[in-house]
């Protein structure tokens, strides 16, 4: 059926009625809600009272200008548009919901559907509600990249489970006849690459057409310029030495707390011997090697 006028309001506030019993002497009565004089309809003995003339309201106190007569429940007050002290939103909020201000949630929040956040989430931490039961993403709904200024704990929460660094880059290998300084070889190509995962460094080095002219033949052949100094642990690596005189199999070697490496020959029943400059052909020798070692950083 059609109607004339404004559509009915759909607010979820209740109209409140307070009832009192007069005793012929009491002029002040306490209302259940704070209000103002013109926001209540006051009826005594079923006679509507004139606001400000017959009564006034301040906060929750209704004060008559003269005491209403005695009677049981002979005074009632209807709050017209009562002030709402607490608004409880409906338990089922459907449709779009736009919040332009801040939302502070002190209790638990259960979201069973999807949530779309286009802005930033300002939070000190986001924690699962229980320990070790939730995944971040699933096989079919993965995140792309993860940016962390710190590290990540894997498989445990101790310092030994903490992975704090990944880095890859290049370094410049220099062949020299001393551990520091010294005479250096010329090379057609000298390529060095590294990948650092936590404190573990994987090192690749390729030296092409080593020319040892000007170097001291009896000195150890060093490769200077490692990207990270080793820690106190020594390390060995695989090495392919082309056109270099060997008496046994060769391995690469990084000593403790060093930023250089060199090569050793494993000779049966003989102490290890370092590859020297004179073991290298004067030109055309190549070295390809790979190492894994630990660093302090």
């Amino acid at each position: 059926m059609s109607y004339i006028g404004n559509p009915p309001a759909e607010a979820y506030t209740n109209t409140v009625k307070d009832t009192f019993s007069g005793d012929g002497s009491t002029v002040a009565f306490t209302l259940s809600l704070p209000t103002t004089t013109n926001n209540v309809r006051v009826v005594v003995e079923n006679v509507v009272q004139d606001p400000t003339v017959a009564y006034g309201v301040s906060g929750t106190t209704l004060t008559f200008t003269s005491a209403p007569p005695s009677g049981t429940n002979n005074i009632y007050v209807v709050h017209l548009g009562p002030a709402v002290q607490t608004v409880q939103p409906p338990s089922d909020l459907s449709g779009n919901f736009t919040l332009t201000g801040d939302l502070t949630q002190t209790g638990d929040y259960t979201l069973t559907g999807d949530a779309s956040i286009s802005g930033q989430l300002d939070t000190a931490s986001i924690l699962p509600i229980t320990d070790a039961t939730s995944s971040l993403g699933i096989g079919s709904n993965r995140y792309t990249d993860l940016f962390l200024s710190g590290g990540v704990y894997l498989g445990g929460t101790g310092a030994a489970n903490y992975l704090d660094d990944y880095e890859e880059g290049t370094w410049t290998p220099v062949i020299a006849d001393a551990e520091t300084g010294g005479n250096t070889a010329s090379l057609a190509n000298a390529n060095g690459y590294y990948r650092k995962i936590g404190s573990v460094v994987n090192l690749q080095v390729q030296l092409v057409n080593i020319d040892t002219t000007g170097m001291t033949g009896g000195n150890i052949l060093y490769v200077q310029g490692l990207p990270f100094a080793s820690n106190t642990q020594q390390a060995i690596g695989a090495a392919l030495l082309d056109k270099i005189t060997l008496s046994g199999s060769a391995v690469g070697y990084i000593g403790s707390s060093k930023d250089t490496l060199y090569f050793l020959e494993n000779i049966s029943n003989t102490p290890d011997a370092a590859i020297t400059v004179s073991d290298v052909y004067s030109s055309g020798s190549d070295i390809t090697a790979s190492f894994t070692y630990f660093t302090n950083s």
């Binding site: 890859e168 880059g169 290049t170 370094w171 520091t180 100094a229 707390s257 930023d259 102490p271």
Partner: protein
């Protein structure tokens, strides 16, 4: 659209008992001022190394940490390893 390249020493670390100074040089490629690429090159300076070709900042750090005491200790460390045959 302007592409620019610049290199910076974006990380300088002092590590280990002998105060090795690890220097990371970043090559940064920017398009109109927005970084689109960053690659790293590294080298290490041990006590006693020639640092004359380093930046003033690295030289200052090396001067501070590579004291005569540290240099002597590192030289002794190298000599000890050489005596051990490795």
């Amino acid at each position: 659209m302007a592409l620019t390249e610049r290199t910076i020493e974006d990380k300088i670390e002092v590590v280990g008992d002998f105060k090795h100074v690890q220097v990371r040089t970043a090559t940064v490629i920017e398009r109109d001022g927005v970084e689109i690429s960053r690659s790293f090159h590294r080298h290490v300076l041990a006590p006693g190394d020639d640092v004359s070709g380093e930046s003033t900042e690295v030289q200052a750090i090396c001067a501070a940490v590579h004291t005569d005491e540290i240099k002597a200790a590192y030289a002794a460390h190298l000599a000890a390893q050489a005596e051990n045959g490795v």
